[in-house]
Symmetry: C2
Subunit: 350 residues, 2 copies
Amino acid sequence: MKFEAITIKDIARALGLSTSTVSRALRDSYEISPETKKLVLEYAEKNNYHPNPIALSLKERRSRSIGVIVCEIANSYFSQVINGIESIAYNNGYNVIIAQSRESFDRELLNLQYLTSRSIDGLIISISTETKDFSYLKELHQKGMPIVFFDRIVSEIETHKVIADNYKGAYDATAHLIHCGYRRIATVSNPELVSITKERLAGYKAALRDNGIEVDDSLIKYCQHGGMIVTEVEEVVKELFELPQKPDAIFASADKLTTGCLRIIRTMGLKVPDDIGLIGFSNTDLTELLDPPLSVIKQPAFEMGEVAMNLLLQLIESKRPVTDFETKVLSTELLIRGSTKMKKEKEIAG
Amino acid sequence: MKFEAITIKDIARALGLSTSTVSRALRDSYEISPETKKLVLEYAEKNNYHPNPIALSLKERRSRSIGVIVCEIANSYFSQVINGIESIAYNNGYNVIIAQSRESFDRELLNLQYLTSRSIDGLIISISTETKDFSYLKELHQKGMPIVFFDRIVSEIETHKVIADNYKGAYDATAHLIHCGYRRIATVSNPELVSITKERLAGYKAALRDNGIEVDDSLIKYCQHGGMIVTEVEEVVKELFELPQKPDAIFASADKLTTGCLRIIRTMGLKVPDDIGLIGFSNTDLTELLDPPLSVIKQPAFEMGEVAMNLLLQLIESKRPVTDFETKVLSTELLIRGSTKMKKEKEIAG
DNA sequence: TTGTATGCGTTATCAG
DNA sequence: CTGATAACGCATACAA
C-alpha cells in the first residue's frame, strides 16, 4: 500500500543488468552501449523512475535546499522577498525551506539549529529585532555555511549582504514631510541596534538637519518587538501625543510600524494628513487604496530576494571560499500619493 | 574548510567504541551500560553532535518535511494559513517546504513533481484556478501520498479536506448588502469550476432568492486567473458598468478579487459605499483602515492551517490507511465595518 | 553489555 | 562496454 517508488535496483533486476550499468545509462555515460541505454531509458520512462533525492543528498553531501528565516511571512515585504528568492531557487533546482522567527531570538535560534543540522546548503536570513547575540550565526559562518543577509543584516559577519537604501529612503520620506509643511516630525522605529533602524534613523536625522530642524530625541520612539505586539505601537504613539509639544507628523520606519501607526491614529479619531502627517516604509499595495492614499517608501522586495538568492548560489557553487563579499544596496522608491501634500497646500492657500 | 560535521563514526573512533554502541548510547538504549552512555553523551555534547537528518531520512524512508502548494504566499489569506501549518509542523519536528503555483497549472504540476519525487512525507494543497486535470494528484494519492486539501479542494479525491463555510460566508455577505438597501448585486468570482467558487456562488444566489431578488446571470462575472492578471478584474468590472442596468453593489468572492475590485472602483472615481456597495472575502487587516472601513468576510485562516496540518500528521503517522476521511468546515466571520451600512441609513433618513 | 554485518538508493572506483 | 564493491551516516538484527 505504502507509496513504493521504483529504484535503480528494480530496473537492474527487471532488465538483468547491474545497478551501476543502469546508473550510468541513466546519466547518459559514454561507456554504455546505445542499445543498453535505450533499454534502460525506456524502462525508466515507462515506470516513471525518479532518482531518490535523499539518497543523492547523502551521497553528494548537499541537499539542494536552502533555508530562509524571516520574522514572519504574513508581511508583504517579506513575502515579496520570498517570492524573489523562490523564483531564482526554482530555476536552479533548489527547494526553499521557510522558517519564521516571529521576532523572537529563541525561535530564531531554534529554527537556525533545526535548519542547519546539515540539511540545508545555504541560508538567507533577516534577523529578528530581538537578536543581539550573533555567536551561533558566526559559528555557522565559520564552519563554512554559505549565508546571505538581507534587510536586517549583521555587519560583523563577513559575507554577502542585500539591503535597500535605507538611509536615502528615510531621508526622502522625512524630507517629503518637511516639504509638506510639517515641522515636529516624530519617528517610530524598530529597536535601536537593528541595522535598518540605524540606517533609517540616520537618514531621518540628516533630513531634519539639512532643513534646519533640530533633532529632538523625545520624538524618537522604539518598538522592541517591531510592532509584533499590538499594544507596543499604541504605547509609543500615545507617548508622543502626551508630549508637551506634540508632533505634527510621524515617520514610521518599517512595514509593520506603518500600519500599526495608521491603526492607532485611526483609533484615536485622527485623520491623516490633516490632523497628523504620516509616511512610512511599506510594501503593501493597499496603502494606495486608503482615502486619501498614503504616501510610502517602498522597498524593491522582489528584486532583493532575487539578488540574495543569486549571491547565495554563487557562494554555494563556488568550491573555493569567496573572499570578496558584496553588499548590494538597492534603491528605495518614494511613492507620493497625496496624503501628505495637503498641509502645505492648505497653508499656501490660507 | 568545508563545513565538516561530526558523525557517529567519529565518536566511535575517538572513544574506541563501535558505531552501533554509540548509536544505541545516543538513543538511550537499555542495553548500554550507564558508564558508556555517559561517556558517549558527554563527548557528543561537547562536540555538539547532531544526527544527519538526510541519513536518517534515507534509513527511515521519511524526510520529516511536508510540502505546501498555494497560488501565492503574498496573499494574506494564504500566508496566514501557512502560519497555522507552520506552527503545528514546527511543534512536531516537521519542515515545511512551500511552493507557489501562481495560479498556473503548469507551475503547479512542476512543483508537485518536484516536491513529490519522494522527498516529502505529505502534501497540503490549495489548487490553482487553472487546474482542471487532477490525474497527477489522483495518481499521487493512489500511490499512498498523504494529502490534505484546503480552500480549493478536489472533491473527487477521497482524503481529508479543510474549508471555510463558503456558502454561509457568501450568503451572509450578500444578505448584508441587501439589508443595506442594495438590490442589483453583482458578483466577481474565480473560475466557475473551482470548488470555492461553486460554494460561494450558491450562497450568493440563495441570499438573493431568500430576499425575493431574482438572480441575473449578467451580473455574475468570472476572473479566469483569480485576479492574478491585473487587467482581468478591471475588464469584468467595466463590463458590469456597461450593462444597461448597472449593478449598485458588488460581492467579491475572493481576497485578491476584493482588493482588485476596490482598486478599479477607485480608479473609476467611484466611492464605496455611496456610489457602489462592496463586500468581499478578505483576510487583510488593512481593509479596516480604509475610509470608511470595508466590511468583509474573513476566513479563519490560521486555524485552517492548524487543522490541515493536524489532519496531515494523522495521515502520515497512522500506519494503516485511513478510510474515514473528514471534511472540516470552519465558520467564516462577517465583519461589518460601516462601509456598507450607509445606503440604508441614508434611505431611511431621506 | 558490546561488536559485526547489512541495508536504505545512489554514484565512483576498480576490475574484467 | 559492463559488473562487483565500497562509501555516504545511521539504525538494527544478529553474534559474541
